[in-house]
């Protein structure tokens, strides 16, 4: 076992608990800050952030909803432009609101952003919730300089250690009509198990354009790549011949001369997570 790794010491923990109890009874000994902090990060994530010189500031959110012009979903050819525009706008506006909210709280970025989106026949809603973070003790920055990322606090710390920096959330979406088959084709295929090329092609078309939009946003942010790309695709529940493809992820850029190898250490877990528990205490 490496001697560099500190081993949890039960007596230190018990001393910490006593110190904590004493501070609750005598608030003057507490290290209270002037401004309260709210964070949805776990204690592990917060410790990881602190280890790389960052701290959580506040829970922030951004929401937007854009209308989809009526009568678009069922008949047509190619892309469903009105729905795509609504999706792109809703995502962009929600990100802008998230950045504003974070900047107002003094954050330099937002990590752990949870993306919730709903595509209705009439409108598209996007909701983003995450924790604003900043380098310890840093002052506020302009909202346009605030980065957004759906990486967890742990992944953010790992990315930082490897010499990379998150730049923002990139997103892309496409909705495409799957053309209806000719009646003769329907009849010919009725008793055959064959590929429905109209749907396959529609998925490919939607995917190509959505990924292109994702890449375009990454390039506009001067990023070199996108990590943790999420994909939601499939037919729209309310329109039998419309295929949707939506994707988003965190744009990253290398900030050092070269990628820093993090050299992960291999460990084999011998039991569950009770690492600081001494079996003798059970008696």
């Amino acid at each position: 076992m490496s001697t560099e790794t500190p081993i949890p010491d039960g007596s230190t923990l018990r001393a910490d608990v006593r110190l904590a109890m004493a501070s609750l009874e005598n608030p003057s000994t507490s290290h209270t800050s002037v401004a309260s902090v709210t964070s949805d990060l776990s204690i592990d994530e917060e410790l990881n952030l602190h280890a790389v010189g960052w701290q959580p500031v506040e829970l922030v959110s951004g929401v937007s909803a854009f209308s989809v012009p009526s009568g678009l979903w069922n008949w047509g050819q190619g892309e469903i432009v009105g729905a795509i525009r609504a999706h792109e706008n809703a995502f962009s506006h929600a990100i802008l609101q998230l950045q504003r909210d974070a900047a107002q709280a003094g954050g330099h970025g937002v990590v752990g952003v949870r993306v919730e989106r709903a595509v209705h026949p009439t409108h598209v809603e996007v909701s983003l919730v995450g924790t604003a973070v900043r380098p310890i003790g840093a002052s506020a920055v302009d909202s346009l300089k605030v980065f957004t990322s759906d990486l967890s606090g742990r992944d953010f710390a790992l990315l930082d250690a490897a010499g990379w920096q998150p730049l923002g959330l990139a997103h892309g979406a496409s909705f495409v009509y799957a053309p209806r088959r000719q009646m003769s084709t329907v009849l010919a295929q009725q008793s055959q198990n064959v590929e429905l090329t109209n749907f396959t092609n529609a998925i490919y078309e939607a995917r190509e354009t959505a990924m292109e939009r994702l890449q375009a946003i990454a390039l506009s942010l001067a990023g070199t790549g996108i990590v943790q790309v999420q994909v939601v695709e499939g037919p729209m529940s309310f329109a039998s011949h419309a295929i949707g493809f939506a994707t988003w992820g965190t744009v990253v850029r290398l900030t050092r001369e070269a990628h820093q190898r993090v050299e992960p250490q291999m460990v084999m877990s011998m039991n569950d997570r009770a690492s600081a528990f001494e079996a003798t205490t059970l008696g």
């Binding site: 709210t38 790389v52 209308s67 250690a161 250490q265 059970l282």
Partner: protein
């Protein structure tokens, strides 16, 4: 059979204890020097329906006039049409009576749980679990709260017990990181949306050509504003309970009730652990990446 000598850390000789802790959480508690005393509980059943006066306000012919500091936004019809089938105004407003009911139910259940813990001479309550469920019939809700009362061995305290949603290793890590648990904190906000004609048509997908909205996609301002306000209000409510402490492990749950025609209400619930720093972070090592072999 080999006799086992009693460990001084394990509570003995005062009857058996009960706890809602898992075995590993129980073990971690003992390791922190915390003895479980009992599963403490608090309940409160509340009627949760608008009163007649509130119903007349929300269904009136003119926009609701809220108290001066409450959130409200009015939206007027831009079309200049007077018709029983066309909404002349819309409104977002804060339903403070729902927030009040929730606050009263939650704090009564919490106080009762705390009181049970005090009776047991507990110093804290760990692993708190709470929920709100409908009871018997619509409009009656039950606030439930459970937790395990714990006591720090050989420690005298006159303060009321602290509480936390955490237990086990997560709580141990919080102590090690320099955070003392103060209390669980939760709040709800409630915003009701009475859709304006523009919002109604946008959400229902009707009337866009008739009322000049064309084929353009536009931001549904009333809907966005209501959602942002609901989140802002619940955050503000929770922050007012912190008194310069920190809130960790925040969970934001969004609840919505759709009334149709673009009308709905949003009720975000925000809860977390109020913690107080009792020591500075020690200089932490940079996290060491590991790959677990299994």
């Amino acid at each position: 059979m080999t006799s086992v000598s009693p460990d001084p850390q394990v509570p003995t000789g005062q009857g058996s204890f009960s706890s809602g802790l898992s075995v590993s959480d129980f073990a971690a508690c003992l390791d922190m020097g915390l003895e479980p005393l009992g599963l403490v509980q608090g309940f409160c059943v509340m009627r949760s329906q608008p009163t007649m006066s509130q119903m007349s306000l929300s269904m009136g012919m003119t926009p609701y006039q809220p108290a001066p500091n409450d959130y409200v936004e009015n939206y007027h019809c831009p079309h200049g049409i007077v018709s029983a089938e066309h909404r002349m105004w819309g409104q977002n407003y804060q339903q403070t009576w729902i927030e009040r009911i929730w606050r009263q139910g939650f704090s009564s259940a919490y106080t009762r749980m705390l009181s049970e813990a005090t009776t047991l001479h507990a110093h804290g309550i760990v692993g708190v679990f709470d929920n709100v469920t409908p009871l018997v019939q619509d409009g009656i809700v039950e606030f439930r709260m459970f937790g395990t009362a714990v006591r720090l061995k050989d420690h005298q305290s006159t303060s009321p017990p602290w509480s936390t949603y955490l237990a086990g290793q997560r709580l141990a890590k919080s102590f090690e990181a320099g955070f003392a648990p103060v209390s669980i904190v939760a709040a709800v906000s409630s915003v009701r949306v009475s859709a304006s004609c523009v919002t109604q048509y946008a959400v229902e997908g009707t009337g866009s050509l008739l009322y000049g909205q064309g084929n353009d996609s536009f931001e549904i301002e009333q809907l966005v504003s209501a959602r942002a306000a609901a989140r802002g209000l619940v955050r503000q409510s929770v922050k007012s309970q912190l008194h310069a402490d920190q809130l960790h492990g925040v969970e934001l749950l969004m609840r919505e009730h759709d009334f149709g025609h673009g009308d709905f209400e949003i009720q975000p619930v925000l809860r977390g652990n109020r913690v107080r720093r009792f020591k500075n972070f020690a200089a932490l090592l940079a996290p060491r990446p590991t790959v677990t072999l299994s």
